[in-house]
């Protein structure tokens, strides 16, 4: 599995929340501990549902937990069309 372009603060947040273990976090969101390890080491980008569940464990928003390591270049179709004069 290639490295994910999305980083996260999960490890920091775990320790800021009473040194929560990976096992406890995994149980709280319904995944295996190995998936928490893969998330923390940047080898796996979670689904939106899992990202929201992880964020809610720490009482944060998804943006507070996950961030772009390298934001994708905006595609030409995503740019707003300019009105012709």
């Amino acid at each position: 599995m290639s490295a994910s372009p999305i980083g996260n603060h999960l490890r920091r947040l775990r320790f800021d929340n009473g040194e929560m273990t990976q096992e406890a976090l995994a149980r709280a969101v319904g995944v295996t501990r190995q998936t928490v390890v893969a998330l923390e080491t940047g080898r796996y980008a979670p689904s939106l549902e899992l990202a929201m569940r992880l964020a809610s464990v720490f009482g944060r928003g998804v943006d507070d937990v996950f961030y772009w390591i390298e934001p994708p270049a905006p595609s030409s179709s995503a740019k707003p069309k300019q009105e012709k004069k």
Partner: protein
Amino acid sequence: MARIIGFLALVLGLGAVLAAAAINLGLSTGWIGAAALIGWALFARRRWERLRATSGAEPGGPERVVWHRFAGTGILFGHLVVALLNPAVDLHVGSGNPLAIDSWIILIAMVLSAAVFHGDARERDERDQAIAARGVRAGYAALIALLIILLLHLGFAPPDLRQALTHWILANLLSGLIVASVLAMHFVQLLGYAPDGRSPSSERLSA
């Protein structure tokens, strides 16, 4: 990847040796294959528990199940290939040789070892499902590719080569293709899990 290929070579070799022994000596060797599978399962379980206690790099339940199935399918495939290389040997149950029963014994041992000896929860989460899906796609591609090769052989091979392909041998060949595609599926799934064993899994913040 080298670890997975090495393990594959080992189980294929074991299956091949068991089939060769059964053909040449007329002995039922399926029990040896089953015992090897269960013995390996117990050994692997202890090793994984040790890893859990020391580095935390043990495989999760779904990955353990894949390892068990990979081991069993590998032995089965090695066994089947050697049996098919001896077209004179009848693989029917009750045909005077133990090969068919041996295959069933190995298959039962594989199911048993994956169900009983994995030693962890088997529920897949979304990452396991993604890895499983990638394996299924690879298995499907392998099956189609192998079927195309067989179809080309059936359609265009010289008649004297095709004559050897009786209905019975064709049926066994198709069984072999299915086992090969399942093996490819498990191989790709283990490749998906492979980086887990190399990454730091420490609970420490500095890790």
